[in-house]
Symmetry: C3
Subunit: 138 residues, 3 copies
């Protein structure tokens, strides 16, 4: 049984979904583990993880629209000192996921045919994000 730990850094430039499927799968495939469990942890409270279709870019645009409609910016929040996008960012992060755990087979995450893993950035200004990766197996 082996394990490995890594931090992936992702530069973001505004509210969007950033595809991290390739760097995650690439790192996992280099750890000498055939079968196991890959865990992805987002170390932020204004960015999160989301698994979505990677085929049609319209899906990403519709997702952004939905979250902006349900969690609008505005004057309704007490927490406003970090900007109008900060409290909506915390809520959007709460509605999506902080961690994902994906089984590995033949060294690759068992994603479905249309699945991609995205970092979901909820802030407007550019950010440097840290994503922890852990794999265990043999």
């Amino acid at each position: 049984m082996k394990q490995a730990l890594h931090t992936l850094r992702v530069r973001t430039t505004g509210q969007d979904l950033y595809d991290i499927t390739q760097p995650i799968g690439g790192w996992a495939g280099q750890q000498g583990i055939d079968t196991g469990l890959l865990t992805i942890w987002c170390r932020h409270t204004s960015a999160s993880l989301i698994v979505q279709e990677n085929a049609d870019p319209d899906v990403r645009a519709d997702l952004l629209d939905f979250f902006r409609r349900v969690v609008p910016e505005g004057s309704q929040y007490r927490h406003a000192v970090e900007g109008p996008d900060d409290m909506p960012a915390h809520i959007k992060a709460a509605l999506t996921q902080s961690s994902l755990s994906i089984p590995l087979q033949h060294g690759a995450p068992l994603l479905g045919a249309w699945q991609a893993v995205y970092l979901f950035e909820h802030r407007t200004e550019p950010q440097m994000r840290s994503i922890c990766l852990h794999v265990i197996g043999f």
Copy 2:
């Protein structure tokens, strides 16, 4: 330390919650692992995982109503080529969970008294869904 990997196939017939607690627990209990970690991964972006009360069927009906109200079908989506239920399906999947990790004791997932694990199907047409199961422990 041992591990095992399995794919569970679930046939769905419309938007509903499908109880997968028994096949998941049954498979986990056959792996010769007393204490460990069970991970469930849904390989789709228009179906997801949800943990809910298994006692009153009204809970499932109210959940379906809620998600249909907050994520309505309609003409507001760019992504429409796969049918009016497809983009709402992606959003509902984003709002629920792609993976669940449940500790095992005495070979059984440590679910609470009222907890059941459901596959949450968001599409209208019948589907065959794949759920990956991974267990590690001893």
Copy 3:
């Protein structure tokens, strides 16, 4: 490779976020594991897990407001026998998380600078909640 299992009990007194970062990290740090994976499982369907900013209490108040607005109490639910807060509780639990998996380094969960792990209580009356903790690594 080692593992350990523990149940954390948390007394709640109404709808709020209860910071469980310290007892979780404290227990994990005592298991003699340097690098590994910590999993947190909430054994309830009317309470859940959420990762949020621990700096400004206004964030917690805004989160509670948001979930009460999107999932209001009222007469719209079939499932009403357990009180007006019960069905909204199930929906709020569905929108947040049942499990979290956090990599460990130097015996500590790799939380970001502003991250705290909260038990999100959705019921009005006092409750005793059970949170399962599992750690694996070496």
